[in-house]
Symmetry: C2
Subunit: 557 residues, 2 copies
């Protein structure tokens, strides 16, 4: 036991990063004075669960309160102060001024180490009519209660913004029997994804009666008996309740006022130990900029998992610096479930790689989530981005009816280990009929990527418009008829007869092969290439590009 004065650790923000830092700090030091300040009434609540309580999938509100101020005090011997705002930092005297939201009284708290974990707030642009009481954002338990309350009477709901929270809200409102319109400025849902990887989710939203308005944004609201949402296209949507889910902005007023360095988009700058430009002040969670694991540049990952681990790293760096490890950087792993479909991503998407001018290659593969011969096999689509020179995996996206989380987690781990496409081809994943397959879809993605890298086949993301290109559909004719290619003039030769029908193709013109899943088209492309054709194949097949539910096989008679 040290005879020195106990270290005073003050934490601004008591949810993910803040509460994690406090808990870890107490494990490391029984003697420290740890004060947890939270502006809201709740600490350490399950932010990510809010939509599910609104929709009734989570039935107990209490389940969302992972800890309460009382349990934190009892178990961790913390000084927890809720409904208290940190209003100023005096860096010279190392103290933070706090104001009780109820009484308005202020006081100064001295600190030896300070953590800023203020989080982020939903964006609420200054549009006409934005202050209508029927327009909500979702961040706190109180927001949740307000929306749940308003939803009891509402029949028509507009959700503005089709990111992760927007999709979860659209799903949960539909679950409640509401008529839901989902508006997104981009021409796709899930803006961080490459568009083809969103088609499964889009299809699922429409199948459940959600009206999708893509490529249109909100321009203002007219409040009357019905709330009128005016879109940029001049289109009008009527709603009884609106949820804005168009993103968050970091809460960095306190940090800025204290003169801490912030990044180009307003997030607090931190080093790999989560220290700000003042080494006695740390920051963590949604308000900070961290290093991107894949590329090293600055990025923002406003997600619960990274916030928790960052908070832990702060406590380690303060209380056990000798063994503390730096923050490895963020992958941006994220996932969403929309009814029966799950989609997620980790690392870099193709659009982000392209926008950043990075060299990359991609393949898309389809398979079942477990062995096809075992009952209950469900389709899954996986897209892989890798670095041409090294084969290193840069990012992955997946969508499907089962097993998406597993593949994302494996690929996040692969990125963390700097694995290459050759490594993916050989990964030894668990296989028994109810789980995986002798060749898991991750192996298949590795195979397809290695084939592309080794020049065995050229995956294409689109069928070229060039009329010189011969489009060869190698599916069985009944599938070609029931699910035609959205492209005129393709030639249909099923794979099994291709070797004997090569004469039907013009060897002087390029051939793009197409099938349902991309695999048979690859097989065909190999036959063509070895017979002197210039050939490429549509990676991911029809499923990945137009119709995520198109069949791969003829129905058994």
């Amino acid at each position: 036991m040290s005879a020195a004065l106990p270290l005073r650790f003050v934490i601004v923000g008591g949810v993910a990063a803040g509460a994690s830092a406090a808990a870890r700090a107490r494990r490391l030091s029984e003697s420290a004075s740890i004060t947890l300040l939270e502006r809201g009434p709740d600490v350490s609540f399950a932010n990510c669960g809010l939509p599910y309580f609104i929709g009734g999938e989570i039935k107990q509100r209490g389940a969302l309160a992972v800890q309460t101020p009382q349990t934190l005090e009892a178990l961790l011997n913390l000084d927890v102060r809720t409904s208290v705002e940190a209003v100023a930092i005096d860096r010279m005297l190392k103290r933070v001024q706090i104001r009780a939201l109820g009484s308005g009284t202020t006081e100064w708290l001295p600190y030896d180490k300070l953590l800023l974990a203020p989080g982020a707030v939903p964006m609420r642009p200054a549009l006409p009519g934005i202050d209508d009481a029927r327009i909500f954002t979702l961040r706190s338990l109180q927001d949740m209660d307000r929306i749940k309350n308003a939803a009891t009477e509402a029949k028509r709901v507009a959700v503005i913004g089709a990111g992760f929270i927007g999709l979860e809200m659209a799903e949960q409102f539909t679950r409640l029997g509401k008529q839901v319109t989902l508006v997104e400025l981009l021409d796709q849902v899930l803006p961080p994804f490459d568009r083809p990887m969103t088609l499964f989710i889009e299809d699922e939203l429409r199948r459940h009666g959600i009206e999708l308005v893509l490529g249109d944004g909100i321009d203002g609201f007219d409040g009357a008996a019905t709330l009128i949402c005016r879109l940029k296209s001049a289109r009008v949507i009527e709603a009884d309740l609106v949820v804005l889910s168009i993103g968050v902005r970091p809460e960095t007023g306190l940090a800025r006022a204290a003169g801490l360095t912030v990044g180009s988009r307003g997030h607090i700058n931190v080093n790999e130990s989560m220290q700000t430009s003042d080494t006695d002040i740390y920051a963590a969670g949604d308000a900070v900029e961290v290093a991107d694991f894949v590329m090293g540049e600055h990025t923002m990952v406003p997600l619960g998992g990274p916030a928790n681990r960052q908070g832990r790293i702060v406590a380690d760096h303060i209380f056990q610096p000798a063994t503390a490890k730096p923050y490895a950087g963020a992958l941006g792993t994220a996932i969403v479930r929309v009814f029966d479909v799950t989609a997620g991503l980790t690392g870099w998407s193709e659009k982000r790689l392209r926008a950043g001018g990075r060299p990359y290659r991609t393949v898309t593969v389809n398979d079942n989530h477990h062995a096809g011969y075992f009952p209950g096999a469900k389709p899954i689509i996986l897209k892989l981005c890798w670095e041409p020179d090294t084969g290193r995996v840069l990012g992955a996206q997946a969508a499907g009816l089962a097993g998406v989380d597993k593949r994302l987690d494996v690929l996040a781990t692969a990125i963390a280990g700097s694995l290459t496409i050759d490594d993916l081809a050989q990964l030894e994943l668990s296989y028994a009929p109810p789980f995986g397959a002798a060749k898991d879809i991750i192996n298949l993605a590795g195979f397809a990527a290695c084939n592309a890298r080794d020049g065995l086949a050229t995956p294409l993301d689109t069928i070229p418009d060039d009329p010189d290109v011969q489009v060869l559909d190698v599916r069985p004719p009944p599938l070609v008829h029931s699910h035609p290619l959205p492209r005129e003039g393709s030639i249909n030769i099923p794979l099994a007869t291709l070797r004997s029908r090569l004469g039907e193709l013009d060897p002087s013109r390029p051939v793009v092969t197409v099938c349902a899943l991309g695999k048979t088209a690859y097989f065909a492309s190999r036959i063509l290439a070895q017979n002197g054709f210039q050939t490429s194949y549509l990676t991911g097949g029809i499923r990945a590009h137009w119709d995520p539910r198109s069949p791969a096989k003829l129905p058994t008679p």
Copy 2:
């Protein structure tokens, strides 16, 4: 197109490794002459699915025939010969002698490259009465048909050997309403596992009425109206049907006769390109010895996934040697589902590390398979083995009601990437309420391992017998009463009151803390350590060591 004579590639064995090699070879070479020889009547069938057809979970027998000789010929232009046995290899003249099992006629087939993928056969020791027609092994579709047929009349079934196939058969027979006895020579099911990690499966077997006979082996059979199984203990089990699932031995008669080098346990030796001691003869699948990924030494992994990838590597090495990659080595990733419980492992177990004299450390953690606040969260137990000097993950085992396959696959990938316990602590896995958690159990395992490595806490696998040790149970008293520790004289102080009740412990004697899951015991151990106690905690808690279904929390009133 080459004007040279087509390369003649002959493959002995048409299931996993053989069929994969043939398919890959054809993608790489349209001109090669590829001959696939199979002793049985079937090629490329779903070996791993056999128990599930017997139990009726897979309903269509045809689903197990992934390919037929006809589809392989049509799609891949192969020369497929079934019911044909390779009887001799003439390495000088590079030809293999084959015999048609029906007619008995023989012929010599010339090869440029030969692949031996003969697989393995179930062990059937020469015990008294072993030839009784009611004693079966399971390897082929024909074995499956025989067992399924015999099962229609059988009421009592004995399964000898509680490895993966034995457990699957025990489950499927129970599903069919049979009275099942499962006999295992070791004192645990799933011999490759550390015993505590098998308790969940054991419990599940018993819950479903399966009689488990552990630590006893079969000594012989007496055939009468009822088949009598005589065990080594002199115990007798009556059965109408017996399945022997005590392991497999490699089919290497052909390779031995040809003078190819075999390993100490009779498996064919291969290099990292799967070449035998004759570089024109490759071997792959259950009959070979490969390098262990973690330790580099020779190992055997008679599993479908590795066999498939090895077959592919053979074709790559023959047909595109410039870009072919070596076999990376085997992890031994394996998984089994038994009713509602799944268990699996990857890399090295503690018992294997101990037997091999390798330095290692371990922790065991418990959590839910996804966020506990979201409905449907199911328990999962995870044990991690790592290398003390480097922190490198050496192996992992998991058991639970959901999400086991995901964690194993992440950990197999972590091992493939040589990740450390620090990397696991920071892995950014997918999290939304229906999937994972802000801190996934894999992160928790990393945290616990780092805590052990950094000297913050000392995980114990057992409670020492030493009467000087104080055993401190930190669970709430009602749980202590409803699920008592199987150890006399423990002290019960719930965590929340521990700081104020330290005086009840003797500071001169060591304290081992215990709770349901291992987490609260760790918390308590941190408080004790900082108050001058010599302390350690039971890793994995009561759940991992005695009672996998013991509650962690008081039931909500």
